[in-house]
Amino acid sequence: MSQVAHAPEHPTVTGIDNRKLLMWVFLASDCLFFGSLIATYLIYFGRSVVGPYPHDILDIPVTSVSTFVLLLSSFMFVLSLAAHTRGDYKAFRVWVFCTAVLGSTFLGFQVFEFQHFVHEGLTPRTNLFGTTFFTLTGFHGAHVTIGVVWLLTLFFLSLRGKLGADKNLAVDLAGLYWHFVDIVWIVIFTVIYLTGVALGPGVGK
């Protein structure tokens, strides 16, 4: 395997590729986006006038599994980036495909959860909990969906031989995004699920 030294197209002041810097700034911006959604959720926490309330309906064991799936997908992506960096494109495709499958599994859990909640009588129109819960987790799910499409794009590009050593950055960027979306979920899982249930019926109302 020949390691191709990849220099950026144009030297930059910081030494960081323009596209990578763009991704970091975008993620900083996205922090404020999710921060505002989480702030809205917290402000309205315990202010719903009718049920179902968080502790009635949130299922910690099931969501723990889906959280584990998403965390595992981040690990898979680390493996795929490492494979791509050392030039092992077959291994890259295997791992990136696994990442996309795990991401899709997480989305499957979310679809199942949403359907279950609607069945239990919680929709975005029911109460403030429903409104804020579906908006926050829905936008997170949209981010995961974009991520899965992105990962599959990389997979197919690699299949067609268009993702060589000069495109290592493209894999790196997708990784930054994927890990970020993963981290956001850890915050959401803590704030909505763990806190919401731990505080119980007295506060979580």
Binding site: H10, T12, V13, T14, I16, N18, L21, L22, V25, F26, A28, S29, D30, L32, F33, G35, S36, L37, T40, I43, Y44, R47, S48, V49, V50, P124, R125, N127, L128, G130, T131, T132, T135, T153
Partner: protein, 628 residues
């Protein structure tokens, strides 16, 4: 000298149009931004004029109260999001790559996408006039006025969705300028040698990428409430209208600095050039700009002193708001010290910059008056506030923008604007502006509420309202003169040459108008005023605050230090229509969201995805221009 053959075959009219539609050249995109924003500025001006005509005398019925509500709501939105912000973006586009010594912005196609998305958002917003009426709930659109119960029409939807689209455009542009400024400065241009305008652009861009997500969330909540029956601002479900106010102003106050910091940057460029002195206290101006950017996040609730937040919150926000006057004051002292003792050349750009300082001080002082919450309780929702906002945004931002237009017009077009017309324009604007807005302090303290469609005779407001309307027409006369001057100078103006003002920064080192690739060779920067040092290589140890003697014209000397590397090939990014296609997808999705047409959302989304994929697959440079 080396010459570069740029293949540009624009023979027919349609070739020219196609050239502009697919352009990714930062200077052309800047021109598109400027022209479009100025058209929106005039639309906002027409809305303002209609309001002034309605209010010229008591109990007039020129427009109905409902139309009046739309006029002031759309006027505010238009001036802030479609005029001042994109006029700032026009300067960012044209000037920043030239000031930092780069051949283009970091992402030329993203830049084109920003412009087309901005245009889509602007047209979306203004099309509401023909599709059932515009927003009528004030430019900050307080809940529950925006709820379906009280506002069943589509005006609010048009407003909310167009601001989402415009936010996308602003954020895309801000990402681009952050990367350009951080990553693409010429060798030797450290952060402490960066021109002040570039610094302020960097701070503004950081504010945009952090503040716009907040209003994006607020607007999404509003749209979801209206389109899909969510409960964010539904009081019957426990929703809190104050949440809207907090989210809006958490964005809204950084937005104020997004509007004014570019103006401060322009003035900081113009004053030293026309005083023939280095900027006084450069580090203080930079750090004050950073301080304003940070503290701009800590003052938002001073817009809400009268909603009943309680004494603790009111006190805290009073204190933070008074504190933010300190860095602003520091800047003003530094500008005055820059001018002090200089060899002043009172050309039009300088006049507008000096006018900016004077008017902005007045706006700042009235701002301090309602920074104090008990005082604000008396002034809130009166014309005193209207006077304040116009002193900072018209007397501040617009004066500086005119200063910047007169200052950089010769660089962008190669011709000077007419000086006599410019001076008359300045005095018409100065007099008209003060006639229009200074009396608003009086009627405001006299109790005249803002946002009223008319008022009774005998309130003591008649005389000053008539004066204000007369002043508005003086401003209009100035604008018409400016337009005449602008278009005449484009064709018949005096040829400017590279450096008509004896400038200090890199953009004056290259031809006017700059070639497509800007810099034949990337310059190396050794000081804060690189071009000045190059023209006047023996700085006579001039102390800060002293004046420099005018030396002989040595501008022709080619004592230019360039990067040692020789660029054999200059990569000029190829034109692309994918940014336009992607923006079109956004526009289709926007209209669909307004009319709750779900299939349209998917069509728009699919078009956006298709545009993005094609954009990604398209090579950035198709052909290379040989240089020899």
């Amino acid at each position: 000298m080396a010459s570069i053959a740029v293949a540009r075959r624009e023979s027919t009219f349609w070739d020219t149009v196609w050239g502009w539609v697919t352009t990714v050249d930062h200077k052309r995109i800047g021109a598109l931004y400027g022209i479009t924003a100025f058209i929106f500025f005039m639309i906002g001006g027409v809305e303002a004029t209609l309001m002034r005509m309605q209010l010229a005398r008591p109990e007039q019925t020129l427009v109905s109260p409902d139309v009046f509500n739309q006029l002031f709501s759309m006027h505010g939105t238009t001036m802030i999001f479609l005029a001042i912000m994109p006029l700032g973006a026009a300067f960012f586009n044209i000037i920043i790559p030239l000031q930092v010594g780069a051949r283009d912005v970091a992402f030329p196609r993203l830049n084109a996408f920003s412009y087309w998305t901005f245009l889509a958002g602007g047209l979306l917003l203004n099309s509401s006039w023909f599709l059932g009426g515009g927003l009528n709930a004030g430019w900050f659109a307080y809940s529950p006025l925006t709820g379906l119960t009280y506002n069943p029409g589509h005006g609010v939807d048009f407003w909310a969705v167009s601001l989402l689209v415009l936010g996308t455009a602003s954020m895309a542009a801000a990402f681009n300028f952050i990367v350009t400024i951080v990553n693409m400065r010429a060798p030797g241009m450290s952060l402490t040698r960066m021109p002040v305008f570039t610094w302020m652009t960097l701070i503004v861009s950081i504010l945009i990428v952090t503040a716009f997500p907040v209003i994006t969330v607020a607007l999404i909540e509003l749209v979801f409430d209206r389109a899909f029956g969510f409960n964010f601002f539904n009081v019957f479900a426990g929703g809190d209208p104050l949440l809207w106010q907090h989210l809006f102003w958490v964005f809204g106050h950084p937005e104020v600095y997004i509007l004014i910091l570019p103006a401060m940057g322009i003035v900081s460029e113009v004053l030293p050039v026309f005083s023939r002195k280095p900027l006084f206290g450069y580090p203080f101006i930079i750090f004050s700009g950073i301080a304003i950017g940070v503290m701009g996040w800590m003052v938002w609730a001073h817009h809400m002193f009268t909603v009943g937040m309680g004494p603790v919150a009111n006190t805290v926000f009073t204190l933070t708001t008074i504190t933010i006057a300190v860095p602003t004051g520091v800047k003003i002292f530094n500008w005055v010290a820059t001018v002090w003792g200089g060899q002043l050349t009172l050309k039009t750009p300088m006049l507008f910059s000096l006018g900016f300082i004077a008017m902005f001080i007045i706006g700042g002082l009235s701002g301090l008056m309602h920074a104090v919450s008990p005082s604000d309780a008396q002034q809130s929702d009166t014309y005193f506030i209207v006077a304040h906002i116009h002193y900072v945004l018209f007397g501040g931002a617009i004066f500086a923008i005119f200063s910047g237009i007169y200052y950089w017009f010769p660089k962008a077009t190669g011709r000077l604007m007419n000086e006599t017309s410019g001076k008359i324009h300045f005095w018409l604007t100065m007099i008209g502006f003060n006639l229009t807005f200074f009396p608003m302090h009086f009627v405001g303290l006299n109790g005249m509420p803002r946002r009223i469609a008319t008022y009774s005779a005998g309130m003591g407001w008649d005389f000053w309202n008539m004066v204000e309307t007369v002043g508005a027409f003086v401003i209009i006369a100035g604008i018409l003169l400016f337009l005449h001057n602008f278009f005449r100078s484009l064709r018949k103006g005096e040829v400017a040459g590279n450096d008509p003002w004896d400038g200090r920064t890199l953009e004056w080192a290259i031809p006017s108008p700059p070639p497509e690739y800007n810099f034949e060779r990337i310059p190396v920067v050794h000081s804060r005023d690189p071009f000045w040092e190059q023209k006047h290589p023996h700085p006579l140890g001039v102390p800060a605050g002293a004046s420099q003697q005018r030396p002989g014209n040595r501008a022709q000397q080619p004592a230019v230090a360039h990067a040692a590397e020789t660029h054999e090939v200059i990569h000029i990014p190829s034109p692309s229509y994918w940014p336009l296609i992607t923006a079109l997808g956004n526009a289709i999705a926007g209209y669909s969201l307004v009319y709750r047409f779900i299939p349209g959302l998917f069509i728009g989304g699919a078009l956006t995805m298709f545009g993005l994929y094609s954009w990604y697959m398209e090579p950035t440079v198709k052909h290379e221009n040989k240089k020899h």
